[in-house]
């Protein structure tokens, strides 16, 4: 297993050194002196610079800077658009200054070398924009490249002409690249404080609508007005206050968060369970209390995230535990939505029993389970790539069936089913899209059930059987596991969890159309699972929160509504970065981290064992 990458390339805003740097920084005694400032690895710098420059041109021509310029991060200083242009030089500058700490190879203390290298590389990356500014001024390529426009040129030139653009981007690139290199020079503790400050500022700006919404609920708008500018973005004073505050906090808390986490991880048996239970209770309490103060917008967002958590948990059982790569998972979301619609809505074309939502839910579960069986039975006998392709096909078939004229008498074809009543909870409350808070609570309840079910299943006999099938199907069969039945069960359990999400979705939105169940939904759910950490419940939740909450779902706007156009681009970039830097996902489970750590110990033991074996061999 080579899941541990020895170092991670710094994520743009917060370049954290690899896991090795924290511990290794304590013993600089055997480090080599800093490298001479100008003896650079120019080829490496040129290569990184060229890659970065191409990236910059690509980002510019994707129109991201222009589109995102409207969203201010700090009023009058930095917009999201310009941020998208300084991320690459920063990352490149930091990357160029990175040295791997290899055993037996001298580690040069970072110094001026790193800063100069970073500046050179950053200038090259910025030079990409300079080149673009010159090209835009002299050639007209608007025909194939829609965004090849004076607007972009003006943005790049800060409205001061091409010559200015050329110089300013070389300068900005060099400065930002140098800053990236400087990140390698400062001690890890300072780097952590810095990255906390940057992340806080970025987070505060991104979460603006959320915090404003919450502040209104709690009646502290005054404070918010001080932090945020009227036209969006942090005020300069607010930004300084936040940066200072978070910096101080990070400085005070340095090492303590990690220490506390390590202490909890080190606990064994009941004490550990108690600690985890406390953590879960605290999270649950926040999730129950928070929406009471939040307005519609926040609750809508939370509800959307919750719907995707539910879907991702379902897919996680299929893909993460049983190893069945299902690319048509949206089928079960669709069947859940449609069956709930048919069973509850008076407007359903063919049959309309108008059942109360909770009664209908039983029907939804049964129907989706059956569909899961029908799709699963032929599919499950295949393996690997073939299986993935076939599930992809079935996902589309289900959508096309709902769309078809043949079944339009049942499901309304492209008109779908509208005027679906909300979900009535035992006469206590009516859950409908007009009241996102109640939707969120309903979603939360189902998420809790799904989390509990996933958690129990993972540790059960059947969960072990799923993992065995995932690891080696033939041997699993030889252990007496009926692989077909076990895989089919995973498929059906995943389908039922997905159908919950569908049933809530139809009550929330009030209408279902085939267009809501495009293949894109399957892909997004899969990306959430992979991004968060396959086979890991917390990771799946975190993945939904980041991807759906911040960037937005297939149709649901996220916190950065401006991103919606570039959502897929960013999804793709994140996924690629994730696969390279952290294939285990955003949050690998504690268990897994522990195992990864053990792996190192095991390798030592293995080496020792090898030498022992050799000695044994020598004796007789």
């Amino acid at each position: 297993m080579s899941l541990t990458t020895p170092s991670e390339p710094g994520p743009p805003p917060a370049p954290e050194a690899g896991p090795s740097a924290g511990g290794a920084a304590n013993g600089p005694s055997n480090d080599a002196p800093p490298r001479p400032p100008f003896a650079q690895d120019w080829r490496r710098i040129a290569r990184m610079g060229a890659i970065g420059a191409i990236g910059q041109i690509f980002i510019s021509l994707s129109n991201m800077p222009v589109k995102l310029d409207g969203r201010a991060i700090i009023e009058g200083v930095l917009s999201l658009g310009y941020l998208s242009l300084v991320v690459l030089p920063l990352a490149a500058g930091s990357r160029v200054g990175h040295q791997l700490r290899r055993e037996g190879v001298p580690f040069h203390r970072p110094g001026a070398h790193e800063v100069i290298g970073g500046a050179a590389c950053g200038a090259l990356v910025g030079g990409g924009l300079s080149l673009l500014a010159i090209l835009i001024a002299n050639f007209d390529l608007r025909e194939p490249l829609v965004n090849w426009s004076p607007i972009l040129a003006d943005l790049l030139a800060f409205n001061r002409g091409t010559a200015f653009a050329v110089l300013i981007w070389l300068a900005i690139g060099a400065a930002v690249g140098a800053a990236g290199g400087l990140l390698r020079v400062v001690p890890p503790a300072a780097r952590r404080v810095l990255s906390t400050m940057v992340l806080t500022l970025f987070g505060a700006a991104v979460l603006e609508s959320l915090t404003t919404d919450l502040a209104e609920g709690m009646g502290i708008e005054g404070l918010i007005e001080w932090f945020y500018a009227p036209r969006g973005g942090l005020t300069i004073t607010g930004a300084i206050a936040l940066a200072a505050g978070s910096g101080v906090l990070a400085f005070v808390a340095r090492g303590r968060v990690k220490g506390a986490k390590a202490r909890i991880d080190a606990l064994e048996g009941p004490a550990r369970n108690r600690a985890h239970l406390g953590l879960i209770m605290a999270t649950a309490a926040v999730l129950v209390i928070l929406p009471m103060f939040a307005g519609k917008l926040t609750n809508e967002l939370l509800a959307n995230v919750g719907l995707f958590v539910l879907l991702a948990l379902g897919l996680n059982i299929v893909v993460g535990l049983a190893g069945i790569l299902d690319l048509g998972y949206v089928a079960f979301f669709a069947v859940g939505s449609y069956s709930a619609a048919v069973l509850t809505a008076a407007t359903s074309p063919k049959i309309h029993p108008e059942l109360p939502w909770f009664v209908a839910l039983i029907g939804v579960v049964v129907l989706t389970g059956l569909v899961g069986l029908f799709i699963g039975a032929p599919v499950i006998r295949m393996r690997g790539d073939y299986l993935a392709i076939v599930t992809l096909g079935f996902g589309e078939i289900i959508r096309l069936l709902f769309l078809s004229d043949w079944l339009s008498g049942w499901f309304g074809g492209s008109q779908g089913i509208t005027n679906i009543p909300g979900a009535e909870i035992f006469g206590l409350a009516e859950v409908a899209g007009t009241d996102p808070r109640s939707v969120f609570y309903l979603v939360l309840a189902f998420c809790a059930i799904a989390i509990y079910v996933s958690w129990r299943l993972e540790r059960s006999r059947i969960g072990r059987a799923w993992m065995a099938v995932r690891e080696d199907e033939t041997v699993a069969e030889a252990m007496g596991i009926n692989t077909v039945n076990v895989k089919l069960l995973a498929f059906v359990v995943g389908a039922v969890l997905g159908s919950f999400s569908g049933a809530i979705f139809s009550a929330k939105v009030g209408s279902v159309f085939p267009a809501s169940f495009l293949i894109l939904v399957s892909i997004v759910i899969l990306v959430v699972v992979i991004f968060g950490g396959m086979g890991n419940i917390v990771g799946v939740i975190a993945g939904s929160a980041v991807l759906i909450g911040v960037l937005g779902g297939p149709k649901q706007p996220g916190l950065l509504a401006e991103f919606s156009e570039f959502k897929l681009l960013i999804y793709g970039a994140l996924l690629v970065w994730m696969m390279l830097a952290r294939p285990e996902g955003l949050i690998p489970s504690v268990r897994r981290t522990r195992e990864l750590h053990q792996e190192e110990l095991a390798q030592d033991a293995w080496l020792r064992g090898q030498t022992e074996d050799e000695q044994d061999e020598g004796q007789p």
């Binding site: 006999r461 072990r464 065995a468 080696d472 252990m479 792996e599 050799e614």
Partner: protein
């Protein structure tokens, strides 16, 4: 062997033929394994050794003939039924569930059992047999050394409370010192009362610990004798090399996986 006379075999193949698609992989194979024996099936590449194991376990259905487990014809019974009735296999190259812990691997061996007390007792027995396995319980199986993996693979198989242990090429992929150690392990388990059916290419090693053996050549049993007699038989070597005269027609079908 004299001890086997008059008893019914624990596991038996009667005139079994098996095919991979059109390829004739087993030809009228007769085998019988008695309780308490350590027997081995020898043969070169593509001779049908692994096919024999697959057929015994029910992962491949014979085209004709009978597989008999403890007096019952199990041709139409699935693998899970046969495992529950006492056959288990240690696969070639060990093939542990690498990303699962050692504990989980052992638990999976006992997948079909419901008696949690018995499972706990058997776990203890495995620890007794392999103290090193106990030290590695929480570790991922893929991180163990080759020798330790072999212990876990055998431990996993023992967890199903087998009556007969099928071993697929126990010497495959191990360092020479470990092969020796592995065969010692097998005879140790056998001496503790386990019936073992071993499939091997390494004839000298296998016959060194076995009671009886068969030699398989392109799907046909060409030799069937006690271990001592086989070791002394010059035909053993020639049959490995495909040199015997009557195998000329059979050699054409030797392209199938072994």
């Amino acid at each position: 062997m004299s001890s086997s006379v008059g008893r019914i075999p624990l596991l038996e193949m009667r005139k079994v033929n098996a095919h991979y698609g059109a390829v004739h992989a087993l030809r009228d194979v007769d085998l019988s394994i008695y309780e308490g024996e350590l027997v081995c099936l020898l043969g070169g590449n593509a001779s049908g050794k692994s096919t024999t194991l697959k057929t015994l376990l029910g992962m491949l259905k014979p085209t004709s003939g009978e597989v008999v487990l403890d007096g019952e014809v199990v041709n139409d019974r699935p693998t899970s039924y046969r495992v529950a009735r006492g056959i288990t296999m240690v696969p070639e190259n060990r093939r542990l569930f690498k990303r699962l812990t050692v504990r989980e691997n052992l638990q999976l061996g006992a997948y079909l059992r419901k008696d949690s007390d018995g499972i706990a007792a058997d776990l203890e027995r495995v620890y007794e047999l392999f103290p090193r396995v106990k030290e590695r319980l929480g570790q991922k199986a893929g991180t163990l050394s080759g020798g330790e993996q072999q212990m876990v693979a055998i431990g996993r198989a023992l967890m199903s409370q087998p009556r007969v242990l099928l071993m697929d090429e126990p010497s495959m992929g191990l360092a020479p010192a470990l092969v020796q150690q592995n065969f010692e392990l097998i005879s140790q388990i056998h001496e503790a009362g386990m019936t073992v059916f071993m499939v091997e290419q390494n004839a000298n090693m296998a016959l060194g610990i076995a009671d009886r053996g068969w030699v398989l050549q392109t799907g046909r049993v060409v030799l069937d004798d006690t271990a001592e007699a086989l070791l002394a038989n010059p035909a053993l070597r020639t049959s490995y090399l495909g040199g015997s005269k009557d195998s000329g027609d059979a050699a054409e079908g030797s392209g199938e996986p072994g």
